[in-house]
């Protein structure tokens, strides 16, 4: 099963423990087998099975708990803003968390920052960056418009930057 590593990786990130991740992947696998006749040959299999994984996660205990804690406000990221929040002084900040990260190569810090993200934002990072899905595929998986995909990814990356800043305090040294 070529997608098993990807499914398990995303399942573990979302459920945050091995046992739940295994249950999630197994349930996804069973649903995919039962519903395979409904899969349209030639359509996107990866998006199809990740959609099953995601819906299964949402109905799990961990998924329901995650939904209770986060309210996505996509309208705040409708793409019409001027980006002022990213450029408070129109100056180049060369000490951003990302630059520190690249300079120091601290993979653990980034993973810690990812762990701090709420599930709805983490799944955007996982699908877009880790699974390298296109917006159209992500829209299929999450059943949301492409514009919402874009705004959520922007919001997820902003949240990741904030999380990185909180994990990388000034003067702290990181292992190369």
């Amino acid at each position: 099963m070529p997608l098993l590593p990807s499914l398990y990786n995303v399942a573990f990130w979302l459920s945050r423990n091995a046992a739940d991740a295994e249950d999630l992947v197994q349930e996804t696998f069973l649903k995919a087998l039962r519903g395979f006749a409904a899969f349209e040959p030639g359509s996107n299999f990866k998006a199809w099975i990740f959609r099953i994984l995601r819906n299964t996660y949402l109905t799990s205990r961990a998924g329901l708990a995650a939904r209770r804690t986060v309210a996505l406000e996509d309208e705040l990221w409708d793409g019409n803003d001027t980006g002022a929040a990213l450029h408070p002084e129109s100056a180049i900040d060369r000490e951003t968390p990302e630059m520190n990260l690249i300079r120091l190569g601290d993979r653990a810090a980034l993973q810690s920052a990812m762990e701090m993200l709420p599930a709805p934002l983490l799944e955007m990072i996982l699908l877009c960056d880790v699974e390298e899905m296109k917006y159209r595929e992500i829209a299929t998986v999450l059943e949301i418009p492409i514009g919402t995909v874009m705004s959520r990814i922007a919001r997820a990356r902003a949240a990741l930057r904030e999380a990185l800043q909180s994990t990388m305090t000034p003067g702290k040294e990181f292992r190369v």
């Binding site: 099963m1 098993l4 398990y8 990786n9 573990f12 990130w13 991740a21 295994e22 992947v25 197994q26 069973l30 087998l33 039962r34 395979f36 006749a37 409904a38 040959p41 819906n55 299964t56 949402l58 109905t59 329901l64 939904r67 209770r68 309210a71 990221w77 409708d78 793409g79 803003d81 001027t82 980006g83 002022a84 929040a85 450029h87 129109s90 180049i92 900040d93 951003t96 990302e98 630059m99 990260l101 690249i102 993979r107 980034l110 990812m114 990072i125 996982l126 877009c128 960056d129 880790v130 296109k134 917006y135 705004s151 990814i153 922007a154 919001r155 990356r157 902003a158 990741l160 930057r161």
Partner: protein
């Protein structure tokens, strides 16, 4: 483009999702804006680093073995309840068929799908219906998970029904009397398949029920209950409306509510005006 690039544009740039025209505009802006150039670089670096850091967990070998067993069981015993029991049972050496068996089964399934092209129209209708049920399910789960009150919070049908005036392109009726232990909690305006629908919220005892009403030109016939991830979904058509009820309550009690609402649409019962 005089303002700075929006987060959306920077995100789409890093993800390679800009159209050619958009990319030309963005490149023109970046040529004269060091701040946005820096932000764009940061986005790309972050994306690259995240892609590597996100590859963190690998499936344990025993999971692959378990999935292989389930695949073989599915091919011989497709009953869902049997699969659930099998999941809890210890492994059996005779079921170690390997991934080849799973792949073969998928190929067989695929072949069957291709052979059944003649029935594709029917299958597509079923798939569309299944997608609708999934959407109903997702909406209901989202409602349960949200801590927000309904958009119209009232147990009075004379308050709930008028609230939808001008919000949906149809009208509906609410039953004058509800089945025992059933109360109206409120309603939301929501969307199914991009169509505005009324989501009526009921409680049957401690069980929450969502009833989605939308326009439907079909002639009313009650349809069987479907199960979706432990929730029951019942569909009815009546009075030019299509309704979906979803809950984890007893099927008989969900059916009582479905009948009451369906009869209210057809005028067989006293209704709210």
């Amino acid at each position: 483009m005089t303002d700075h690039l929006s987060p959306g544009f920077l995100t789409a740039l890093a993800d390679g999702e800009l159209s050619a025209d958009q990319l030309a505009l963005v490149n023109e802006h970046l040529a004269g804006c060091p701040s946005c150039t820096s932000s764009a670089l940061h986005q790309s670096l972050l994306k690259s680093a995240t892609a590597k850091a996100g590859q963190r967990y690998t499936p344990p070998p025993h999971l692959q073995e378990r999935l292989m067993r389930l695949a073989s069981q599915t091919s011989s015993q497709p009953d869902a309840s049997t699969l659930r029991v099998a999941h809890l049972s210890p492994s059996r050496p005779s079921w170690r068929l390997g991934w080849a068996a799973a792949a073969a089964m998928l190929l067989v399934s695929l072949s069957l799908v291709l052979l059944q092209r003649a029935d594709r129209r029917t299958e597509n209708a079923s798939a569309e219906q299944a997608a609708l049920v999934t959407e109903v399910f997702d909406q209901h789960i989202a409602t349960l998970a949200a801590s927000l009150p309904p958009q119209v919070l009232s147990t009075d049908r004379h308050t709930v029904k008028p609230w939808f005036q001008g919000k949906i392109p149809f009208s509906f009726n609410l039953p004058e009397s509800l089945p025992r232990d059933t109360t109206l909690d409120g309603a939301n305006l929501t969307y199914l398949h991009s169509q505005p629908v009324a989501q009526l919220l009921f409680s049957i005892g401690r069980h929450r029920v969502s009833v989605f009403l939308r326009q439907n030109p079909g002639v009313g016939t009650d349809k069987p209950i479907a199960e979706h991830s432990g929730f029951l979904v019942m569909e009815f058509t009546s009075g030019g409306l299509e309704g979906f009820l979803i809950s984890d309550v007893d099927p008989a009690r969900l059916g009582e509510l479905a009948i009451a609402i369906a009869q209210a649409q057809s005028g067989d019962q006293k209704q709210s005006k």
